[in-house]
Structures are given as C-alpha cells and as structure tokens.
C-alpha cells in the first residue's frame, strides 16, 4: 500500500508539471465539446486527436494525458446534449435523455446538468480509486501468464465484445475477423514473408493503425452523419438556478455511489462498456426506487444513475488495457494503439518498466476529473454554445482535421486514400448493422494474438494441446464460449418465455 501511494505521488509529479496540466485542461475542454456534439463520441475524439498528438511530437506521457483527458471529457459532454436536446451526445448518454430532457422541459435544466456533472465526477473518482487499488494486483497476477494463456485471454476479450454487441453473432464475428485479417497484411516479422501486400510498396509495413482508425471513426462517421442528418432542434435554454439543492443531492447520493461501484466493475469486464453499464444501473435504480419515484418524468436520480455508471465504467475499462494489455472496448483499443505507436506495450510488465507512464496516466485521471467538474458546472453556458455549431461547418471540419492527422504522421497521400476507402467500407458495414468495436479490437490484437499463438506452439513443438493445458487457459476458454453464446441464449430464452406467456 505504501509503495502504491508513493508511486501515485510520482504519478502526480509527472501529471502536475505546468505543460501537462495545460495539456490536460485543453484535453478536458476538447473532450467535453466532442462529447456533446451528437454523432461524435469518445472513440471519434480519441481517434481524431491521436495522430495529431503524435504529429505534434508530444512525449508519450503527455500524449496519453491528452487522450485520457479527452476520453474523460467526452463522457461528461455526452450528457449536455442528452439533457438539452434529447439527443445523446455519445452512446453512453442514451439513458440520460430519459430523465434529463423531461427535467429540462420542467425548467430544471440547470440542476439536471449540475447533478449529472456531480454524478459523473463521483463515478470517475470511484473508478479511478478502483484502478489504483486493483490494477497493480491484476498486473501482478497476470505476470504469470504464458503465451498460451495470453492467446486465450485475447480470444476471451474478442468473444466478450462479440457476444455483447450488435444484433447477430455472425455479424460480430465477421467484424472481428476482418479486423484480424487486416492485421496480417505486411511483412511477417518472424519469417520475412510478404502477406497480402499485392506488391504495393506502401503495404509492406502493414496497414497503419491510424489509417484504420481515421477511416472507421472519422470518414464513415461523416457519411453516417449525412444519412442521419436531422433538422436542427433548438436546445432548451438554461433558466433559473444552475446548482442542484441539498434535497436533490440527498435523494441521489446513494444512487450515485451504488452506480459508480457497479459501473466500475462492469467497465472492468471486457466487452461490457459504458452503454451497458448505464442501462443496467438505470433499470436497477428505477426498480429500487419504490413507488413514489418520477423516473421517466424527470427524476434527479434518473440523471445521476446513468451518468455515474457510464463514467465509472469508462474509467474501469482502462484496467484490462493497462494491466493485461488486452483492451475490452473500442475506445480503449484505440488508446492501446496509441501506446503501441510510442513503442510502449501495455501489459503486466508496464507497471514495472514504465511506472512514470502508468501512474502519470492514473494521476492525470484524478486531475482531469477535478478540472472537468470545475469546467462543467460554472462554465456550462460556454459549452452549450457549441451545440449551435451547424453541421455544415462541423462535418467538413472533422474531415479536414482527420486528414491533417494522418498526413502529419505518414506524410503521403496513399494513406489518406486508403483511409477513405476503409471509411467507405466501414460505412457499408455500419449501415448493415455490423458492430465496429470488434473490428478495431481485432485489428489491434491481431499481431499479438498471432505472435503468442506461434510462441506457445513453438514451446510445445507444434502440439496444439498446450492451449488447453493450464487451469487458467481452460477457465478462459470456458469463459470465452460462455460469453459468446450466453448473452444471446439468454435473450432467446427470454423471448420464448414471453411468447409462451402471450
């Protein structure tokens, strides 16, 4: 415990330098703006800013602080448009519309916003404390993992995500397999064999991560925004008091705490992200509220619950990425890609080899959340102004900024064209209801999966049984199959029951 505390202090020393504080502040501001814009969520924000941070030659810890602040900020921003526009700014804020918008219509926009900011802060704080407590333990435990266990762990992560997202198992599987397949393009590092390069010089080193990310999360997003372009609804204006009062706080305080804890643990599990956490917490709080609740009509607990949960789970999902090197969500997959750009391999050894980076990141989460709370309550009117950015300016702006990032890193237009083509494919897949998170996770994990598989089989001299030998590996396989089939089986059973009842 002592050592954890001193390491955390070290982290604060890294995150507390004037430049890094400034970077965190900028990240928080940008993140909140990106989060509140409908259509752009944390994954787009992190995806678009990642190449720019890299191109600005920020040192790794500063780049990570920027991305983390943006990530944290997006989770705060999503609620603003949910409450004022009835349009969730990002997927995690869907549940916030249910009570947030009714509150705003009652003239309680101010309290709804400040309460949800408070809940976001509470969720993020609990989850960051959770990271401090659990991440080192998990990292220590995972250090015993051999290549076989690692391979199966990655299978588990992909199965979790594939089993939980999207409406059909083949679609989730295809998305993930396309990601894995694209990761094999380029020279095989073990044997020097060219794979699927089709004699193109630019493909020799593989498809750059940034190109995939920009294609999937900027270009295809822009195309989807044109499809979903809706007539602008004027945001509700904030009238009356800005702060929640003591009565509202007392009503929501246990809700916030419960949902923060639940959100954190849901976030740690691979696959289940902010969206699932906020939906589950909202539903259970509603059930627990007893008879005299106003859920659905503007209950203050109805905005506190999903916001606490989605912020907690967003922070919690950093745990598997940092400790195991296996991200459990699309956004953390992008963040892990950012780390690999800096030649930092996340995983259990990261805590020992790069303590400055890990603890600097954790400390920056604390700092970012304090900043976000401070930004989001008094300055809320500033952020609301951003809701009136017209789409005709926003969309081409996003397109241009994304291209700037890719060009700055690679300096050639081949990558820009490739990113656009991938974006077009991404659009087709997304319109056909393919989940996109397994795609990016597959791409990020592909190389590590192959390396670990080959290493495991080298150790066993080609004998496949090594993948099923250790108890950990067997438990992981069981988990993978259960996560792949379980959620859909339960849904099918529930549907059948309903049909029988009806």
């Amino acid at each position: 415990m002592d050592s954890t505390l001193s390491l955390l202090m070290q982290g604060f020393a890294v995150a507390g330098t004037p430049e890094n504080l400034m970077i965190a502040l900028i990240g928080c501001f940008l993140g909140t703006v990106v989060g509140l814009l409908p259509g752009l969520g944390p994954i787009n924000g992190v995806a678009i800013l990642l190449p720019i941070a890299f191109a600005m030659k920020l040192p790794p810890e500063s780049a990570l602080i920027l991305l983390c602040a943006v990530y944290a900020g997006c989770e705060y921003g999503g609620r603003i448009s949910a409450i004022l526009l009835n349009v969730p700014g990002d997927a995690g804020a869907v549940m916030t519309t249910l009570d947030g918008y009714p509150m705003a219509r009652k003239g309680l926009a101010g309290p709804a916003l400040s309460m949800s900011a408070m809940a976001s802060f509470c969720g993020a704080l609990v989850a960051t404390l959770g990271i401090v407590l659990f991440a080192p333990l998990l990292a220590e435990w995972a250090i015993a993992f051999g290549p076989a266990e690692y391979f199966v762990l990655m299978v588990l992560a992909l199965c979790c995500l594939g089993g939980l997202v999207g409406d059909s198992l083949p679609k989730a599987a295809i998305a993930c397999l396309i990601g894995l397949l694209l990761s094999t393009v380029g020279i095989d590092s073990n044997s020097g064999v060219y794979r699927y390069t089709f004699d193109a010089l630019h493909l020799q080193d593989g498809i750059p991560f940034i190109v995939i990310v920009i294609g999937l999360f900027a270009v295809s997003e822009v195309m989807l925004m044109l499809q979903h372009a809706h007539a602008g609804v004027a945001p509700m204006t904030i009238t009356g008091r800005l702060m929640f009062n003591m009565k509202e706080f007392m009503l929501a305080k246990w809700t916030m705490l419960r949902c923060s804890l639940a959100g954190f643990f849901i976030g740690v599990l691979p696959g289940a992200g902010a969206t699932i956490a906020s939906a589950m917490c909202y539903a259970s709080e509603r059930r627990m509220a007893g008879k005299d609740h106003q859920f659905g009509e503007g209950d203050v607990r109805g905005v506190a619950a999903p916001e606490a949960a989605n912020n907690a789970s967003a922070n919690g999902s950093l745990v598997p990425m940092l400790t195991l090197g296996v991200p459990g969500s699309g956004t953390t997959a992008v963040m892990m890609g950012a780390l690999t750009l800096y030649n930092i391999t996340p995983g259990p050894t990261l805590f020992q080899e790069q303590p400055a980076i890990v603890w600097g990141l954790i400390a920056s989460l604390f700092i970012a959340n304090v900043m976000l709370l401070a930004l989001n309550i008094p300055l809320i009117r500033v952020f609301v102004k951003f809701l009136s950015i017209p789409n005709w300016l926003l969309v081409p702006g996003v397109a241009a900024i994304s291209m700037v990032g890719v060009y700055a890193v690679h300096g050639n237009t081949f990558d820009l064209v490739l990113g656009t083509v991938i974006g077009g494919l991404g659009y087709l897949l997304r319109v056909m209801n393919f989940p996109i998170a397994p795609f990016i996770l597959g791409f990020v994990l592909g190389d590590m999966m192959e390396q670990n598989l080959r290493r495991a089989l080298s150790i066993s001299n080609g004998e496949v049984g090594v993948l099923f030998n250790s108890p950990i590996a067997i438990a992981l396989w069981v988990g993978a199959v259960a996560m792949l089939i379980g959620p859909r089986l339960m849904k099918m059973l529930a549907e059948r029951k309903e049909r029988v009842a009806a």
Partner: protein, 147 residues
C-alpha cells in the same frame, strides 16, 4: 438480400485469401507454425461466418433513400478526391474545395459554404502548421511558382 450478397463476397474473399496464403512459405524456419497458419485460420472462420450470415433468417438492413444514398456516394467521392489532392493542391486550396460542396450537402448556402471553406482552409492551416507545428503541404503549384 444485402446480407446474402455481402456473405457471398466475404466467402469469396476467404477462399481467395486461403488460396493466396498457400504461397506464404518461409525459406527456412525455426518454428513449427509458419506465416500462413494464422491467416488461414482467420479466413476459414471468416468463411464459416459468411455462410452463417447468408443462412440467417432475419434481414433488417434499411438503406437510406436513393436520393440520400446518392449524396452519400458523392460525399465519399469528394473525400476521396480530397485525400488524393491533399498534397498536390496544398492544404488550403484542397480544403476549401472540399468544404464548399460538403457544406452544401448539410444545408449551407453557397455564401456560407464559400466562407466556411476559406475559413476552415486558412484557419486550420494557421492553427496546425503555424501554431501547433504540424507540417501541412502548401502544394506543388506554390513550389512551382516560387521556382
């Protein structure tokens, strides 16, 4: 229907990919698993998933209305052209040319589009190239004029 077609395409890709992967052979190797096993495994699973996709009963793909689809297609081509012309025309000119039609798609007037185009082109150039030290192309034509 869309799912059936896509399933067919993916099945073809997986078969073609496996066929291509046959030639991935290491000249000499120290390890039991060579460079072609992993791609073949992935492609085989992709093929199976593609067949499962084709056999799935429910089909709930809703494509945008033809007029919107046309505009989305045009948007894609504009971004593609933007990507290709990015360093040839230079950031400012390419961005301005991209912004005007895209802004029009999202309901801007010609005047708004033109102002937005020049504004974004020049503004982002100053922000990134001058202030943030992210080098952007000025364009080959500028270099030609300057000799």
């Amino acid at each position: 229907m869309s799912e059936k077609i896509l399933g067919g395409v993916l099945l073809f890709i997986s078969l073609a990919g496996i066929w291509l992967a046959r030639s991935f052979e290491a000249p000499f190797s120290y390890e039991p698993v060579g460079p072609r096993a992993f791609p073949m495994l992935i492609l085989a699973l992709l093929g199976i998933s593609a067949i499962a996709l084709m056999l799935e009963k429910k089909s709930a793909v809703t494509w945008a209305a033809p007029a919107t689809l046309q505009r989305i297609g045009a948007l894609f081509l504009i971004v593609l052209a933007y990507a290709w012309l990015f360093d040839k025309l230079g950031f400012i000119v390419a961005t301005t040319l991209m912004v005007v039609p895209v802004a029009r798609f999202f309901g801007a007037s010609w005047k708004q589009g033109a102002l937005g185009g020049v504004g974004l082109g020049v503004g982002l150039f100053i922000l990134f190239d001058r202030l943030l030290d992210v080098a952007l192309p000025t364009g080959l034509w500028v270099a030609n004029i300057l000799g």
